[in-house]
């Protein structure tokens, strides 16, 4: 068991990247400013020059950089993904995070020396799938989907033969990552090939009867009374009519916070903890990374983990252990 869990933090913009490093990230993950990464939102991500600077900033401070190239190229359009893998290698990224089998195949054959992590978008949900990616593409690490109970995480980690990275904080949907196209069904853009779930260009807000309505592709996802905490306008957080009654059929608007079970994730043999939120600002990054840095340091040194106070920045203003909690499903 590793003494220090590796803290993997978001770098949505160059400033957020530096904020992550400064707040104590061991590793920062980020992406190029195009469809090759799953957080392709306006104003985010890195051009090649910014990426070179960011990698330099991290390496000078002894931290690692992972480049997420974790979307699925459309037929006949693999060029940008191949270019992204080539550039990640030449810019000196410590690893690439990949999901598509075609891209994995390309990276493994062209850049065997470049470390490959399996993205959560690949949806590897069992031992056999993890074996498949390890044997065929030489992955060194897999990001586990946000759908397992703690004991299931432990059982997988014990056998999986590559490093395990699990989510510790941030937003999460209930659908299996990489296997949900509700967003493109409703608005034409999806995480798979466009790198964006419910992108801003498809979202509108409208005041009606004193409530604020949130629409995705013109479809009403939710309506909030004044002061009622809101959630992302993603389909999996929609309030829908089921047999004539409104309900959160998929999931309540809430965010994941695994702070309270960090010792148990460590015991389970997890290598790295991931903080979600490349779409979020420096303020969020600084606060969350600092909190988890303090927790992991305490954990490594055998001190009690200081309490976290992150509920204010959590989706829907509500934290949850997500699928880690028994009975979630």
């Amino acid at each position: 068991m590793t003494k220090y869990l590796e803290l993997v933090c978001p770098g949505g913009t160059p400033a957020a990247f530096r904020a992550s490093v400064d707040a104590g990230a061991d590793t920062v993950y980020c992406g190029f400013r195009d469809v090759t990464n799953a957080r392709n939102y306006p104003g985010l991500n890195f051009d090649r020059e910014e990426m070179a600077e960011a990698i330099d900033y991290a390496h000078q401070r002894g931290r690692h950089v992972l480049i997420a190239i974790n979307t699925f190229p459309r037929a006949g359009e693999m060029g940008p993904w191949r270019q992204a893998v080539d550039d990640a290698a030449s810019l000196g990224a410590d690893a690439v995070i990949l999901a598509d089998i075609g891209v994995l195949d390309y990276a493994a054959s062209r850049h065997p020396e470049l470390r490959r992590h399996l993205s959560v978008q690949a949806g590897a949900s069992n031992m056999l799938s993890l074996d498949f990616y390890r044997e065929n593409f030489g992955i060194s690490r897999a990001v586990l989907p946000r759908m397992f109970e703690l004991r299931e995480v432990a059982s997988l980690v014990a056998r999986m033969g590559v490093e395990a990275e699990t989510f510790a904080f941030g937003s999460f949907g209930t659908m299996t990552e990489g296997r949900c196209i509700l967003s493109s069904y409703l608005c034409g853009k999806s995480p798979s090939s466009d790198g964006a779930c419910a992108p801003a260009e498809c979202v509108t807000y409208a005041e009606r009867d004193g409530e604020e309505r949130v629409l995705l592709g013109g479809m009403t996802m939710n309506s909030f009374a004044p002061g009622e905490p809101a959630s992302y306008p993603t389909p999996c957080k929609a309030r829908l009519m089921v047999r004539g009654e409104p309900m959160y059929i998929f999931d309540e608007p809430e965010g994941l916070n695994a702070h309270d079970i960090l010792p148990r994730l460590k015991e389970a043999g997890v290598t790295a903890l991931k903080i979600e939120g490349r779409q979020r600002s420096r303020a969020y990054v600084t606060q969350v990374v600092r909190t988890f840095r303090a927790a992991l340091d305490a954990l490594a040194e055998g001190r009690p983990v200081p309490p976290a106070d992150l509920v204010g920045i959590t989706e829907g203003g509500k934290e949850s252990l997500g699928a880690y909690r028994k009975g979630w499903r």
């Binding site: 031992m127 799938s129 509700l182 493109s184 069904y185 034409g188 309505r213 009403t220 059929i249 499903r329």
Partner: protein
């Protein structure tokens, strides 16, 4: 593999596949359904096996050999579909058993590829084969037929079909076939949670087979009463049926070898006959669509993904 003896200018040599039943129908209803398919439906290939939920599988498992026999006698290829989401040891065991049952298997989760270890198989629409890179890898790994995911546009499917023709011969010493989804509700998401159970305040473990009450899915609407989709166990499916009659001839011309009809709670024999007649050039797509409408009641017909726009978009008038 192809239906023989087709001639005529508009005729295509493409085949029809009846995809796996995605809903939890009572055993009686399933038995009758497949008997009628065997006797009357002009499809070349029929998928059996449970895709959505391992808890449902035992209800129909022991019926499969007899039904498969009857389908084969009727000249149809039988493919055994496997689970879309594999997480437990029991589910892994089920996938292993399916791979050793003597049928051609449809892969719907990566784990199944690992079990097959290069044996010939079909790659289903729940696998993410979006591009020629992934397709080529699948072919080298034994795929004989690949169904692109629902999100891929007609242009994308055509690109894959053209790429497939240039690839090395696969495990069955023939070029990999591309099969396009042509009728029924599209699977939009897969999850660990069962939403049918959740809709009744239950969990997946205590579900009481809530999904059996909805043989065509549980409709979801937005709070502004716009149709959203339907819940089917752990999956969410499109609110409308795809009916790709208009895209069949051009896709077949691009090299698409088969078209998939996904079982819905309507007269699937009639649907198959309509699709066959379009492939044979005996019916115009527009008239086939007009004849389809009374067969499917109030369900709208969508084709947005094929046109490269939002999947929920209905066929323009």
């Amino acid at each position: 593999m192809m239906p023989a003896g087709l001639t005529g200018s508009k005729r295509t040599g493409a085949g029809l596949t009846l995809g796996p039943l995605l809903f939890h129908w009572p055993v009686e209803k399933r038995r009758d359904f497949y008997a009628r398919i065997a006797d009357e439906a002009p499809v070349d290939c029929v998928h059996l096996g449970e895709v959505i939920c391992s808890k449902r599988a035992p209800f129909f498992e022991r019926e499969i050999p007899a039904i498969a026999e009857r389908l084969k006698k009727a000249g149809k290829q039988v493919v055994l579909s496997t689970l879309a989401l594999v997480t437990t040891e029991r589910e892994i065991a089920e996938v292993r058993a399916a791979c050793d049952a003597g049928y051609l298997v449809e892969v719907n989760d990566v784990s199944c590829l690992r079990v097959l270890g290069g044996r010939p198989h079909v790659v289903g629409p729940l696998m993410n084969v979006f591009n020629e890179g992934a397709l080529s890898y699948m072919v080298r790994g034994g795929a004989v037929r690949v169904v692109p995911p629902p999100e891929v546009s007609a242009a994308g499917i055509a690109t894959l079909a053209r790429a497939a023709q240039g690839m090395d011969k696969g495990a069955m010493d023939q070029s990999v076939e591309i099969e396009a989804f042509a009728f029924g509700r599209q699977v939009l998401s897969i999850a660990m949670r069962c939403y049918h159970a959740r809709s009744r305040g239950l969990t997946k473990d205590t579900c009481q087979f809530a999904c059996e009450a909805d043989p065509d899915g549980l409709p979801l609407a937005t709070i502004a009463d716009e149709p959203f989709g339907v819940v089917n166990g752990i999956s969410v499916l499109s609110h409308g049926y795809v009916a790709a009659f208009a895209q069949m001839a051009p896709l077949a011309a691009a090299g698409v070898a088969r078209f998939r009809l996904s079982p819905q709670d309507c007269d699937m024999v009639a649907v198959a006959k309509l699709a066959r007649s379009v492939l044979d050039g005996a019916r115009e797509p527009t008239s086939a669509l007009a004849e389809l409408r009374p067969l499917i009641g109030a369900v709208p017909v969508v084709d947005g993904y094929l046109r490269g726009v939002s999947g929920r978009e209905t066929i323009p008038a």
